[in-house]
Amino acid sequence: MIHTLDARVKFLLAIGFILTTSLTPGERWPVFILLLAVILSVEVLSELGILFVWRRALLALPFVLAALPLLFTTTGNTLFEFYMGKWHLMASWEGLERFASIAMKSWLSVQAAILLASCTPFPELLAAMRAVRIPRLLVAIFGLMWRYLFVLVDEAMRLMRARAARSSTSDQTATRPGRDIAWRARVTGGMAGNLFLRAFDRSDRIYMAMLARGYDGEIRSTPLYPLTAQERLVLTVGFLILLLLLTLAYLL
């Protein structure tokens, strides 16, 4: 159901959801809970499986470390305290709340982004970006990059396999193969240079192929169909819900 929805609607609603989450003040927990209910509902409708989305959402987790010091630097009622060497660390309830609200905002936003990416074929997403007036040239570069991404990833994999094939490996750290770090980095650098060289050559061939098919520098794309009444309705209702939540966030 979410998969077949027009990409423009999904793109705008995902951005709207993330913006709403960002604009919600940190201590408005009821609104966060409602936002969570909204995103979970969409996850259920998308049939992706909530676990799938949550597993991928772990990707943003390491960054939470950046907000961890807030626990101790925010002044307020003491939650717990301990001594680390000669440092006296004191965590506060207020710090915990700020930390938790940042983690919550990040978690909500990344779920919306995962839903958008998982339910929308990339060419449709490109069309949606064109529809919201992102320059056609930039969208064309995105499109070409995406098309050759997996080709060049394969190229990089081949370079890595070649390195593995001409190297020996050992489980013991004492007999670790290869020389020092600088040498290993230079080998990798050579591989990167090789990859760029192959990319340059490939871009030449692609350009020739495009010319042969009548490319004249103009990027043409199929015109976008206007949104149907039903899609318009989904978009309007979606925005109304987000607006309602935002109003709640400031009224409460």
Partner: protein, 318 residues
């Protein structure tokens, strides 16, 4: 697919709305100008060249080497893109790389994308260009200028960009300046060495095989002087501001407080549930727990309702 997120990509939720939007505006202005520049310079070749090169930078980030005990160094690519393509095309290439990482792999947020483009695309490229051009000119066309310039440009671009990330986090009130900036700078001073060494290796390889590609960056760039000045200003500003902000976090805290104040100033017009304590419940702790239980019930209720509605529809369709 083998994909390891770099600690440079800020996810959504970590920047305040104001910081995100300001950096979006700055990035959009720079991207719009770069598009104009590159159209004039590369002409109709631009789409294939930049698209494939962006894909190569993305794939190049997978080439890693073991540093020590399970950690590995890999490429971010702003410096090598700047050296091979010139600043304007490099900004577009890095914009594409960072955008695709956010859109497809959720590495970095969508609202934070403007800031990530600014840090890795604009700052990374401008600083790389400034360092590389300067050292290259100082070397007077000797090859050591290319290699030393490449290494230092790569290292400094990573380091300065990480200071910018730390500063943005501090401005958003997400992380105290005296912790965020030294931590980000410290980690990336080391990560930057890996970037520098790989960039150096790539330049050595390309210099030996396709010298024309490396020397292509030598020809005068349109508005190159402006990029050089901007790169220098950014590098100077961040190296001066960062220690100051770390030494006097109160100043930044004050700014953050002001902005935090702006964020909440329009806040409570009137209170429906004052301080989340339900009216009519005396004990504050009990009321807080009750509010939590009600909230959880709402989440489960709505989700369950949607799930049941969907199943009913499916069974009636079948």
């Amino acid at each position: 697919m083998l994909y390891s997120p770099a600690p440079m990509h800020i996810p959504d939720g970590f920047l305040s709305t104001a910081v995100s939007l300001v950096l979006w505006v700055l990035s959009i202005v720079v991207i719009a100008y770069s598009l104009k520049r590159v159209s004039a310079d590369l002409g109709e070749r631009q789409v294939p060249v930049m698209g494939v090169l962006a894909a190569a930078i993305f794939a190049g980030q997978m080439l890693n080497f073991t540093v020590a005990g399970g950690t590995s160094g890999h490429l971010m690519g702003a410096a090598i893109a700047t050296i091979l393509l010139g600043p304007w095309a490099a900004i577009l290439v890095m914009t594409s790389v960072v955008s695709i990482q956010a859109l497809i792999f959720q590495d970095g947020g969508l609202l934070a994308l403007g800031s990530n483009i600014f840090n890795m695309g604009v700052i990374g490229v401008a600083v790389s260009y400034m360092v590389y051009q300067t050292i290259h000119k100082l070397a007077g066309g000797k090859s050591w200028g290319i290699f030393a310039g490449g290494f230092i440009a790569a290292w400094l671009s990573i380091f300065i960009a990480s200071l910018a990330v730390g500063l943005q986090l501090a401005l958003s009130g997400t992380s105290p300046a005296n912790i965020a900036i030294p931590a980000m700078g410290g980690i990336h001073a080391i990560i930057g060495m890996g970037e520098g060494l790989i960039t150096l290796g790539a330049l050595v390889f390309l210099y030996a095989t396709r010298r024309d590609l490396v020397l292509a960056g030598e020809k005068p760039q349109p508005a190159g002087a402006a990029v050089w000045v901007v790169g220098l200003l950014i590098a100077l500003a961040l190296t001066v501001i960062s220690p100051l902000a770390s030494a006097h976090p109160d100043g930044l805290e004050w700014v953050a407080e002001q902005k935090g104040f702006l964020d909440t100033a329009q806040g409570p017009l009137y209170e429906i549930i004052p301080d989340y304590v339900l009216p009519g419940v005396s004990s504050e702790a009990v009321a807080t727990i009750l509010a939590g239980v009600i909230g959880t019930l709402i989440v489960f209720g709505v989700t369950l309702g949607v799930a049941i509605a969907r199943r009913n529809r499916q069974s009636s369709n079948a």
